[in-house]
């Protein structure tokens, strides 16, 4: 059996839209890698996960690392690639020309036009971070999870309060 790719999953019922994930993402993608340093950087680091807060639903949105990534097909510069082994969709910033085609075509709105550097910014699963994705480790309510789909199902089923929360909403 081929191993399932590991992705970041969200449980919308547990999301309080506190936006801790956004901050942690920006810090993780800053040069100084510290909160205090990051807020003083020029240009400011961009977060690549955005919390959509609605009246009935909160949802942190980031790159889904799609099986058939629209952004990959749309990129005229050939900057987007999909890693067949890990399932990860990457943007090569060297090649990115900032045409924003990926931004427009992404059905999740998960590619962010980083106007300050003129390149597309998106979730890189914090590849080089030992503790795993910063958004996941920063989430206070356990609404974010990093793992395979199977692992996520198991995780989801063991969350306390989830049933009550669902009924409540």
């Amino acid at each position: 059996m081929t191993s399932q790719p590991r992705k970041i999953f969200a449980i919308s019922e547990l999301c309080t839209a506190c936006r801790s994930c956004e901050i942690a993402c920006a810090v993780a993608h800053s040069r100084s890698a510290s909160l205090i340093g990051a807020i003083l950087e020029v240009p400011l680091p961009r977060y690549r996960i955005e919390v959509q807060a609605g009246s009935t639903l909160n949802l942190p949105l980031n790159c889904r690392h799609c099986d058939e990534p629209e952004c990959l097909f749309a990129c005229k510069a050939g900057a987007v690639s999909k890693d067949e082994a890990t399932g990860q969709v990457r943007v090569d910033l060297e090649k990115c020309v900032g045409c924003w085609m990926c931004v427009m075509i992404c059905p999740y709105g998960a590619v962010i036009p980083d106007a300050l550097i003129g390149k597309a910014a998106k979730c890189d699963l914090c590849e080089n971070r030992a503790e795993g994705p910063a958004c996941v480790t920063s989430c206070l309510t356990g609404a974010l999870f990093y793992g395979t789909e199977e692992e996520f199902e198991e995780y989801r089923n063991t969350r306390p309060l989830l049933k009550q929360l669902k009924a409540h909403r």
Partner: protein, 641 residues
């Protein structure tokens, strides 16, 4: 120094391990459980003031984000900062108000067991306030001084009375900036009013009000508390004692006082030495009564009566987890509600005594000054009764214990320097001018679970001592360094630079001077003022080669102290930083712009080695400006980590 993640104090590490083995939860585990710390709050960018919000300003947004009311990041963080200062000032000053009442009731003969111990100081402070001291009984004078100082809280005219003690130059600066505090309560109220939704939105105007409030703490509430505590309980004199968890005794009734106000603990001190109380403890199978303290109550009974110190802020729960404490008596400030959960696993009785502070699930024994001594006796009896319930087999007291000398004040320290017959600051100023001492630095403040316990205090102080800096300390910082042994006179030989060593040996003082509790930071203001008055090292506090540091700051009181130190002309190194880092404008003002207004600034630096380097550079810069002689014994600059 130990690299254990939670503490650099071996007794704390051991006690914590022991607590974990028993599956007990402490501040460290709770802190892990609430992580990650909210970044908006940490940066001061979360506004919870009105009920349209909470509004949070995204620090990574390229556009300018504002709260619902239109308040931007500068307004929001300045308001948060101002409220912290107001709370800190309120804490110190409410404590002082209580002491004023105690003095009045002592004079009226209504406070059982108390008497005015320092008649000289009573007369001196009364004179200073223009009260007639001739042909007046001390009892009447006590009443009138108490009443006069109480006026500082609510007077509708004039300004806080001890401000006149400050050097002229600084008073003029305050007047120019329009920050002379009028009345203590008024400044706290005005901070709350201005930070209410839709009032003051200009960050500088808010911070100047915070300054006015902080001055009402340092030269108001805190100073009143210190002075009147000296009057009632006696001014401290150098006194030997012991510190750390190892002072708890396996064969005695251990009673620990914790909190801040010395009013009850002083009486517990009296009762604990009464023969009939000791007899009662023996009748319960104990060898005696061992009274000790934690946090600033510890510092108070240490300074005046020489009772030992069980530990500082982060050791409060661990003291109970030794299983050896019969009774912990708490009042106000820095008392963790978590004590209740810890005490519930042991025979330890925890009681709250202040009307202002209760803890769910804890017995409240209201303390009544009119029957203070009876109240103290009954608490000790209760503790002795509890001794028989102790499970001696499970008692685990870390053996660490250290000697110390405490009890230094602005008045008596330099008795030492000048000798009994010519009490003067001249020798101190001379030592600085001749380059034996680089300067004097106050290392004060709390413990903070975000920082390895005691590590910053000890790392910083060690480097200062090696570089011929005389260190004065209060609060939990003082307890940290006492545990390390730096409050023994012999420590000078072991650790101090050559110049500091010479001074300590000639005068017979330890290289780190314990000046008391956190309200006693006012003693440091007075000591600095005396240095100016003595002459030769600057016309104003801002010119002196001095600095302050709070490198494990935790409470709002610490923020108020930091601000009054800066506003008094003493540059202050502070970490973790107060919640202003999210506003570039507020940050810039506090770390630079404020220098123009008050002659000093804040430095927010987390690495204690960097703090040491910064302080040494700061002292050297002041020395150069004063054209003082070069340091007599050149020390290598602060070592790197």
């Amino acid at each position: 120094m130990s690299q254990h993640p939670i503490s650099s104090d071996p007794a704390t590490v051991k006690a914590h391990q022991h607590a974990r083995e028993q599956n007990l939860t402490t501040v460290w585990e709770r802190h892990e459980a609430v992580k990650p710390i909210c970044a908006f709050g940490d940066l001061g960018l979360c506004c919870t003031i009105c009920y349209m919000g909470p509004c949070r300003i995204d620090p990574f947004s390229a556009e300018e984000i504002r709260g619902a009311c239109g308040a931007g990041r500068d307004t929001i963080s300045a308001r948060n900062f101002t409220r912290a200062v107001a709370a800190g000032t309120a804490a110190h000053s409410d404590h002082a108000r209580g002491i004023c009442h105690t003095l009045i009731e002592t004079g009226q003969g209504k406070a059982q067991g108390y008497r005015v111990m320092d008649l000289d100081k009573l007369k001196r402070v009364a004179d200073e306030h223009g009260l007639k001291t001739a042909d007046v009984s001390f009892a009447d004078l006590a009443v009138r001084l108490g009443q006069r100082l109480l006026e500082n809280f609510g007077q509708s005219e004039g300004s806080v009375s001890f401000l006149k003690r400050a050097p002229k130059g600084q008073q003029e600066r305050w007047e120019r900036a329009g920050v002379l505090p009028r009345a203590i309560d008024r400044e706290v109220v005005e901070c709350l009013h201005r930070t209410h939704e839709g009032v003051d939105a200009e960050y500088r105007s808010l911070i100047l009000q915070a300054v006015r409030c902080a001055l009402a703490d340092g030269w108001g509430g805190s100073m009143i508390a210190t002075e009147l505590q000296d009057v009632i309980f006696g001014s401290p004199r150098p006194i030997r004692s012991r510190v750390n968890l190892g002072i708890l005794k396996k064969d005695q009734v251990n009673v620990v006082v914790h909190g801040h106000e010395p009013v009850l603990s002083e009486m517990l001190g009296v009762a604990a030495r009464e023969p009939q109380m000791l007899e009662y403890a023996r009748s319960k199978g104990a060898e005696g009564i061992n009274l000790s303290g934690i946090c600033c109550t510890a510092n108070e009974i240490l300074m005046r009566q020489g009772f030992p110190v069980a530990g500082n802020f982060l050791q409060q729960e661990l003291a109970i987890s030794t299983g050896a404490i019969e009774m912990m008596v708490v009042d106000v400030q820095c008392v963790m509600p978590g004590l209740q959960q810890m005490a519930s696993h042991f025979h330890t009785k925890l009681i709250t005594t202040s009307d202002k502070a209760r803890i769910p699930g804890i017995e409240h024994v209201p303390f009544n000054e009119h029957e203070a001594l009876d109240c103290a006796r009954s608490i000790l009896k209760n503790a002795a009764d509890n001794f028989v319930r102790r499970n001696q087999a499970s008692v685990d007291i870390p053996e660490e214990v250290m000697d110390l000398v405490a009890g230094f004040t602005a008045e008596n320290t330099f008795h030492h320097l000048g000798g009994t017959f010519r009490s003067t600051y001249r020798p101190l100023n001379d030592a600085i001018m001749s380059g034996r001492l680089r300067g004097v630095v106050g290392v004060v403040g709390c413990n903070n679970v975000r920082v390895q316990h005691d590590y910053n205090h000890k790392t910083l102080v060690e480097e200062l001592l090696r570089n011929d800096v005389l260190v004065v300390e209060t609060g939990c910082a003082a307890i940290a360094c006492a545990k390390e042994g730096w409050m023994r006179p012999e420590a000078a030989r072991e650790i101090a630079g050559k110049g500091l060593q010479e001074i300590c040996e000639v005068v017979g003082i330890p290289p780190v001077l314990h000046m008391g509790s956190c309200v006693d930071n006012s003693r440091i203001l007075i000591a600095c003022t005396e240095m100016v008055r003595e002459g030769g090292i600057g016309e104003d506090l801002s010119q002196l080669p001095v600095a302050a540091a709070a490198v494990e700051a935790m409470s709002e009181k610490a923020v108020a102290i930091g601000l009054y130190a800066v506003a008094s002309g003493i540059t202050t190194f502070f970490s973790p930083a107060p919640r202003v880092l999210g506003s570039p404008a507020v940050y810039e003002y506090l770390t630079q712009g404020i220098e123009k207004d008050f002659g000093a600034h804040w430095v927010f630096e987390a690495d204690p080695h960097e703090v040491a380097r910064g302080i040494i550079a700061h002292l050297d810069q002041k020395r150069t400006a004063l054209k003082l002689e070069p340091m007599k014994y050149q020390q290598p600059l602060a070592r790197t980590a």
